[in-house]
């Protein structure tokens, strides 16, 4: 399982890549493995306001469906149009081509308290098996 050290994580298995006052969001390698083949991703609309810890989309796989919880507060500036055509990108490259959406952070670059480091997230998923 891959957990890139430069990213931030949530206990709900999203990752955040901080990029100045903006952030990219996706789901982790652990999450995509647990879900199985992703067949559809419902994303927030560009311009939508997202709130940390609130559901803002869903990932459908063969066996199950899971909410996507926004890890951050802000406004959605871009969504990954590619995964509408090819949801399997979320399985194949969860931290790269399988990213989900970008947010202009409400706090101007501050992440919410309680986000996990790569080490914390590894520890969490180890406990979960």
């Amino acid at each position: 399982m891959t957990v890139p050290p430069e990213l931030h994580y949530t206990a709900e298995h999203e990752w955040v890549r901080l990029d100045g006052p903006a952030a990219s969001v996706g789901i982790t390698d652990h999450a995509q493995r647990a879900l199985g083949d992703v067949v559809y991703v419902s994303l927030p609309q560009v311009g939508a306001t997202v709130t940390a810890g609130e559901p803002c989309g869903e990932v459908e796989s063969t066996k199950s469906v899971s909410d996507i919880y926004s890890p951050v507060d802000g406004e959605v500036t871009e969504i990954n149009e590619e995964i509408d055509e090819d949801p399997a990108l979320v399985n194949a490259d969860p931290y790269g081509a399988g990213w989900l959406f970008r947010v202009a952070l409400a706090s101007g670059g501050e992440l919410p308290a309680g986000m996990l480091s790569a080490d914390d997230y590894l520890e969490l998923t180890k406990e979960a098996g």
């Binding site: 199985g36 083949d37 459908e60 063969t62």
Partner: protein
């Protein structure tokens, strides 16, 4: 039996193979089983186009033997098993006295006085207990042989070509729902042409010690044909596309065979009484209380087990199984609908009013349009 929770899920004779293959393992009905090896969609597609290899050793095998075995099964089950020819198999049900389904079964007649009952893993202990009770006082012996068998399924259009060079059985003469002793890779097995995928294929009942070498031989022989190991996730989407019921979803103690569209396996004409007969006769007379209906979703959001089905916005039934269909490329589902809604939905799907969007599934708070489609969703090319 020791407390299964204390020991963790049971391992099959092939669990170590799945671990070496890197499978995602899951606790299924108390057994540690492969959910998928790589991608369940790729495994599903391999079974539709080439072949897949499944470990089904969690299934329950119960032997019923003796001069009264056929009569005991006639009394215990809904089918006419004493009328089954040796070497043949039959899909049948075990019902409670009130007509509810306790399990769906395949019964193989291995000899005049020798039957093998294959039960779902989750029901194996219950089925064994019921069979023993229902056979009491007859010259028949009921034995749980689950631990004596490994069960490997080889399924898909390439299955016969893969198996033929490895077996002494004449596969051209081995019909669907037939099974008899044979050798595969020089090992004694019971070889049956049965399955749960909607494809041609075989189920191989082997000695546990033979399971690993058999699996290896089949995997090697099949590699050039596109054979891949396939897990329970692919098995579930394959059976759903084939319109086959799954116990716990489409079948259960509060569902009669007539609700499930399985009235044909209740044999009122067989000799003698059988458990559930009176209740089942009343259910047959009354007609189904709900109708098992195939649905195709018209959005990409997938109807899943337990979701409400809507007719003009009003609840009219419940989804029992649903998944994105790899073969059809749309979400599919089985659902129990109120008879009136099932009739209207079928008319809507075929008649002039097609696509009026009156039928929908409540997918987590949003009504997603669906249409009724004939079952099975998928039928293999002739």
């Amino acid at each position: 039996m020791s407390d299964p929770d204390a020991a963790g899920p049971r391992r099959t004779p092939l669990t170590a193979v799945h671990e070496r293959l890197g499978a995602a393992l899951t606790d299924f009905a108390g057994w540690l089983m492969p959910l998928r090896y790589t991608s369940e969609t790729a495994e599903h597609n391999a079974v539709r186009t080439a072949a897949g290899l499944f470990d089904l050793s969690h299934m329950g095998e119960i032997a019923v033997t003796g001069p009264g075995a056929g009569e005991a099964l006639d009394y215990a089950l809904t089918g006419d098993l004493s009328g089954l020819a040796p070497g043949r198999a039959r899909y049948t049900l075990i019902c409670a006295p009130d007509g509810g389904v306790l399990d769906d079964l395949i019964v193989y007649r291995l000899g005049d006085e020798d039957f093998l009952v294959v039960a779902n893993a989750s029901n194996a202990a219950r089925v064994h207990g019921e069979l023993a009770e229902r056979a009491a006082g007859r010259p028949a012996v009921v034995t749980d042989q689950t631990a004596d068998y490994a069960l490997i399924a080889l399924q898909g259009p390439a299955a016969a070509a893969i198996l033929a060079p490895l077996t002494d059985a004449d596969l051209a003469a081995l019909r669907y729902y037939a099974g008899h002793p044979a050798t595969v890779d020089g090992r004694k097995v019971m070889l049956a042409r049965t399955g749960y995928t909607g494809e041609d294929g075989f189920e191989i009942f082997a000695r546990p010690d033979d399971a690993e070498p058999l699996w290896a031989t089949l995997a090697e022989a099949g590699a050039g044909h596109g054979l891949v190991p396939a897990g329970l996730a692919a098995r579930d989407t394959l059976r759903l596309e084939a319109g086959m019921a799954l116990y716990g979803n489409e079948l259960g103690p509060d569902i009669t065979p007539f609700d499930a569209g399985l009235g044909r396996v209740v044999k009122f004409t067989k000799p003698g009484d059988f458990v559930g007969r009176d209740a089942l006769a009343r259910a047959a007379e009354a007609g189904p209380r709900r109708v098992l209906t195939g649905l195709a979703g018209e959005s990409r959001r997938v109807p899943r087990h337990g979701y409400s089905v809507l007719w003009d916005g009003q609840p009219c039934g419940t989804v029992t199984s649903g998944a994105p269909s790899p073969t059809l490329g749309v979400p599919i589902a089985l659902a129990y609908l109120e008879p009136e809604a099932a009739r209207e939905a079928a008319e809507e799907a075929t008649g002039a009013g097609a696509g009026t969007g009156r039928l929908a599934v409540d997918v987590r708070g949003r009504a997603e349009p669906a249409r009724a489609v004939p079952l099975p969703f998928y039928r293999r090319p002739a």
